[in-house]
Amino acid sequence: MPPPEAHKTLKPEQIASLREWVRQGAVYEEHWSFIAPKLQPLPAVTRKDWVRTPIDNFILARLEKEGLSPSPQADKRSLIRRVTYDLTGLPPAPQEVEVFAADNSPNAYEKVVDRLLASPRYGEHRAHYWLDVARYGDTHGLHIDNFRYIWPYRDYVIRAYNQNKHFDRFIIEQLAGDMLPDKSLDSLMASAYIRAGISSGEGGTLTEELRVNNKRERTEAYGAAFLGLTVGCANCHDHKFDPITQKDFYRLTAFFNNLAENPFNDDRNDWPPILMVPKPENRIAYEQAFAEKAAIERQIQDRRAQANTLIAAWLAEPLSGPRPVSPEGLVARVRFDEGKANAFADSATGEKREITSATGTPVVWGEGTWFWPYMRMETGTHLELPGVGDEDNTKPFSVATWMRPHLRPNEPKEADHPDGVILSRADADHDGRGWQLISDHGKLKFLFAHKLPDDAIEVETPDRVLEVGQWHHLIATYDGSGKAAGVNLYVDGAPQYVAVLKDGLKDTTSTTVPLEFGRTYPDNNPLRQTAFQDFRFYQRELSVMEAARLPYEDDVTEISRKPMSEWSEDELHTVTEYYFGERDAPTFALKAQVALLDKELNRLAKDGNIELVSQEAPTLAYADVLNRGIFSARTERVRPGVPHFLPGLPAGAPLDRLSLAKWTVSRDNPLTARVVVNRMWSEIFGTGLVETTEDFGLMGALPSHLELLDWLAVDFRDHDWDVKRFYRQIVLSATYQQSARSTPQLTEKDPKNRLLARGPRFRMDGEMIRDTALASSGLLVEKVGGPSVKPYQPPGVWEAGSHQVSDTKDYVQDHGNSLYRRSLYTFWKRMATMPDMDALDEPVRDGVCTRRQRTDTPLQALVLMNDPQWLEASRQLAERILHESQQRETRLDDLGEILLSRPWKEKEKAALENALTKFQTVYGQDKASAEQLLSVGESKRDTNLPATEVAPWMLVASAAMNLDEVLNK
């Protein structure tokens, strides 16, 4: 709705319409696609004999209403050509055409259809459509645009189609294959779908910015692919037309916001999480072990499903329940749980009272959750506690905090380990007097000085224990002895072995400067942008047992003082994680088994193929509503949810990706089945029943045949989302089998053939056109799956614009068989796609494409005439027909049979004859030019055939490959 300040007014006739509507009772009905589809009765038709499948009832009823008649059935040769392309993406072999033409049995056509559906080519062809929707590419797609391993996902898609994996399962596996109770290697491979979109590792970008970008990309892709909704419009504000609120959008993004993934891809080929796909010989053993592991994990999940009961029982048991750390000696505790602003309270005494305020750049709240939405300091933030932590060398004390060094992208490996001061009460301007807790390139160090460098204690862990992007609980204790032996360091509750670097402290360590977070006073050795949580200072030495309880158990004790019914979701999560992580014996036993199986799986996956996959983080999924979509403008934290105007998730369903996946294919969801069948329809007929295949919202196109769409959706769903059955049903329809011939009247009345009074005819996708050239020439190398290949490409296409350090800057062309694989195996560099395919409207796949453009340009003509791939295919095709027969006449006929599955018409043949004669005149006299012409491509020439004879035929073959009819299905 336009806001009042837009001053949009209604025209008198619009007001009149509204009045009329009100007068008629103001019946309001929701937008068609938001109402669940019902199985529509088949409409009655006059020409009952024409009908072969229920589809025909709907199409014919409409034609009869419009006063149109269907076209006659296409001739058998056209039909087998069409259906072979539609089901396999390749032309039929001439023998197949002849067999079909001669087969007069009533089920001749069905036999062809079933043969094609069983061909492995079927899955390859279907996959090329789905990979557009899944935005599959072999590079990250932004900035440095490095290669990444995701091609096993492409093979999963091919396999899924060929095995006729039912589409509901296909969807669930892709959205949450990593979370399924009955997950398998295959379903885990499918989960690469989530991560198939573009991502960045650009050095200067900010972690939070990329995290927001990634989940937004995935949510928009999900909306377009499965809901047919432009949900991304609600990124900045409520959707202007559809009832998707901004909150709906962010609730949807929350499903995709809990991956165990660093938002920076760091330009890595193996951007974690990854799967090692075992080599074929280990696959069976791997799958067995994987299934065992999944079964145990199911038991762990089952146990966890009883969390409330188990936890309640545990808490009720006086001896086993959680035990607190005594508050004795606790002089300061800053939880950093305010959630807003820059003032922080001390809760050491139980009462909360403000103790300090950050100055300089404000702190950042809520980028993520650690117990609760956490606080992070910014580069310019100063945070100090003046009255805390001044301890002389004779007094015992302990300092503890949770902390998370900020993610620093794209820096040398060294930078994975933070370097700087974590906490201090020390005066850098006066001999460093006081204490400092330091991250020394990831090693934890405690420095306690009267006067640096020598009048001091210095101890340090020998190994790196701190990593950027990870939460660590740190404790330093001191017993007041004045000796290094009196210092203990703990990380995540565990005592650390330390090396004593100095042990010469003699004099007082007392200083008047404040306790500082992330630096030493005044501004030395800063560790900027660090997040802190639950800082504590004790005027006593904590024991080993206390140190072990401090990170989690103490907090759990605090929570458990309240009745469970009053716990927040975050608190319940904290207690649950703690209970199953440290207290539940059966879970331990199961986890031990998992660990063993993991070892076995790693062994079996050795030397396998890497694949980016999805993996859920153990945290609760959240997202923040962002004001105007700005990544840092968080306004409200939300849990995952589906759009409010659609049927909700089942009561009690966990709020996670798996629930979303199941909901997507649930009977209640009015959209997905329709969206899916519509897209499959558009592959065959060129246009969807809803033309805007990606938008079923209010601004999308209305369906040309709503009842048919609904019938197809319900029928598909009720037959278990059986994909092969669906295509079979379409191609067996009379509608599909019509001749594509149009009349001027029909073209006039229905230029886009939406009513389907004639058969489908449109220019094929680039892949089909190139594959046709390869297949007809005999060059095609058929092999399903494997790493992407690099066929011919003109020099400079990658090199011209790539980032200088990109590993896809230099195109190194393959040789031999890789030059002639089906086009869906061609390496897909998103920032420089193959120029031939680009000219033929292949999308970039930097977002979802549910329907390609279909342009017609001079550049396309240049590709088809001059690209070496087509010229080489012409050369090979010429040799093929020269071998197959000896007569000029029959050779020309063969050309027609190969490319068009039919003999030439008289006029066509005359044109080719004429051209051939002219070419023969030219090249018959000019062996040198003929040789030059034939030199294209790496495949061998048959040198028994004279160049002067092959060259003219090569050009005739090239002409034939350029024909409109060859480019159209």
Binding site: H143, T205, T379, G796, A800, L859, V922, E931
Partner: protein, 518 residues
């Protein structure tokens, strides 16, 4: 030069389509004349003539909301409502010299003499304010000020100070409009360069050139409407990537996408016939294809077949017109005096400038020349001169050449990058060298010709070249102004996609900066 298929409208675009004749519309005379000149050839080409920036035109006239089916109605409605552009286009074409990587404003155009005294002092927090820093310097302990390494001298009658690095284009100060106060929302290359080119930080939106191709159409069917030229890169410079995203047609038909010329050999891929094939043979082959296609058309009645016949004819002609375009042998000696010998070398920036002028003469609507390498995070002192040496003379020569040929009046030339650079040094600062990080708050862009002012400086930055003191020009305002110079109202020049009136300038209201227009 791509043509849409009116029958199977597809994909992320909906098109203008066909409609009644436009010649008697009350549009600016110059546009009408242009169309008439083209009419003859268009007639010859059959249906191709009907899509002459047609869709874009209709949005200018009508309510701007129209789908493919209703283009004609919308156009008629537009006439009835007399909703016309209230200004005539100043420029017919544009050439955008894009300095990818982002040049340093305070080392080239924005003179800050007081910085010398500030060497190695910390940039005051009050100046830096709450500006988000990139991940590259946000962890930096200090932000030491790095004054420019180079001397500035007064240039032209106006006596503006320009860096010694720009001895040639410095001479243009009396001809150009310098904008010191460009501002962007992005602080990293990929989003920033997308924002400059497409008005959005995420991929998928049409580029400025595509909008112009869509809105204004072609002036020469035998050449692409929108050409992208990539320049030879310079050893040692830090290259940020450029990719077809930057000249993408987004949701507009892909016929409006930029065509990236090759820096070596034939300008367009697959333009050249294979060796061993004469033009006569090519002609014979196309004749055979077209005659059979004609039969197919008669048989099946699909208008698309007819369209394909035309595309093959056009391809044949492009095979002649493109080599002619890139054959510089007909250039007079004065050209080489002006551009220098470097312009003889294929792919150099100077070569591309000369090629851009030749395209301007031949009616290419929009040319964008990229020079990569300006990303001086380190070694600014070593790399900046390499880049200015490569680009300075060509930029000067292009403007001067257009001017002396009388083309500058209706050709808009733009020079600029995707953001500016920080006054403080990234990494170590010494007397000899420094690096500069990305800076979104102010940077310098200049425009020449095409209805811009001569010798005008717009806006003012603070003494630290960090903040705008006066007259900021946001990217969207800049783009709105560019559209205005080319005769488009950015508010009304829209395209409906995903239910939204999409525009180059995006959803946040943009404004034309009137001071930039003569």
């Amino acid at each position: 030069m791509k043509r849409e298929n009116p029958i199977s409208q597809n994909a992320c675009c909906d098109h203008g389509g066909e409609g009644p004749t436009v010649y008697d519309l009350p549009v600016p005379r110059s546009l009408r004349e242009e169309w008439k000149t083209l009419a003859t050839r268009r007639h010859f080409l059959g249906r191709m003539g009907k899509t002459l920036g047609w869709a874009g035109l209709a949005t200018l006239l009508g309510d701007s909301v129209f789908g493919q089916a209703s283009a004609a109605e919308s156009l008629t409605a537009g006439i009835g409502a007399h909703r016309l552009p209230d200004f005539a286009p100043k420029a017919k074409r544009a050439i955008y010299l894009f300095m990818s990587g982002a040049p340093s404003q305070m080392d080239l155009w924005d003179y800050k003499p007081t910085l010398v005294a500030q060497f190695d002092k910390d940039l005051p927090d009050s100046v830096r304010g709450n500006q988000a820093l990139t991940g590259m310097t946000s962890g930096q302990a200090r932000f030491p000020i790095a004054p420019s390494h180079w001397q500035f001298a007064q240039q032209g009658k106006s006596g503006r100070y320009v860096s010694e690095l720009l001895p040639w284009s410095g001479k243009l100060v009396d001809d150009i409009t310098l904008i010191h106060t460009m501002q962007t929302d992005a602080i990293n290359h990929e989003p920033a360069i997308l924002l400059m080119n497409t008005g959005n930080m995420n991929p998928g939106k049409p580029s400025m050139g595509s909008w112009l191709a869509y809105g204004l159409g072609s002036m020469n069917e035998n050449l692409p409407t929108y050409v992208v030229l990539n320049s030879t890169t310079l050893p040692g410079t830090d290259l940020q990537p450029i990719s077809p995203k930057l000249w993408s047609s987004g949701f507009l038909s892909s016929e409006y996408a930029g065509v990236a010329f090759r820096t070596k050999g034939a300008p367009v891929l697959y333009l050249e016939d294979p060796s061993g094939m004469s033009r006569n043979v090519r002609r014979e082959l196309i004749d055979a294809v077209n005659s059979i296609n004609q039969t197919t058309f008669e048989e099946l009645g699909d208008p698309e077949t007819n369209a394909r016949i035309n595309q093959y004819e056009l391809a044949f002609r492009m095979q002649t017109s493109l080599p002619e375009l890139t054959d510089f042998r007909d250039e007079p000696a004065s050209t080489w005096t002006l551009y220098g010998d470097e312009a003889r070398q294929e792919g150099t920036f100077a070569y591309n400038c000369l090629l851009a002028r030749r395209m301007a003469e031949r009616g290419v609507r929009f040319t964008q020349i990229y020079q990569r390498g300006w990303d001086v995070h380190s070694n600014a002192v070593g790399n900046t001169p390499k880049l200015t040496t490569a680009t300075d003379r060509g930029s000067y020569a292009l403007v001067t050449d257009l001017k002396r040929r009388g083309l500058l009046d209706d050709t808009l030339v733009i020079w600029g990058g995707e953001f500016g650079r920080t006054v403080y040094s990234q990494g170590g600062l010494s007397k000899e060298n420094y690096g500069r990080d990305h800076h979104p708050r102010c940077f310098t862009t200049w425009m020449a010709g095409g209805g811009t002012k001569e010798g005008y400086v717009h806006g003012q930055t603070d003494d630290f070249c960090y903040n705008v003191v006066k007259d900021p020009v946001h990217v969207r305002d800049f783009n709105a102004t560019v559209l205005r110079l080319l005769g488009m109202n950015h508010e009304r020049f829209t395209f409906k996609f995903q239910g939204l009136e999409q525009k180059l300038t995006g959803v946040v209201p943009a404004k034309v900066i009137p001071e930039l227009i003569a």
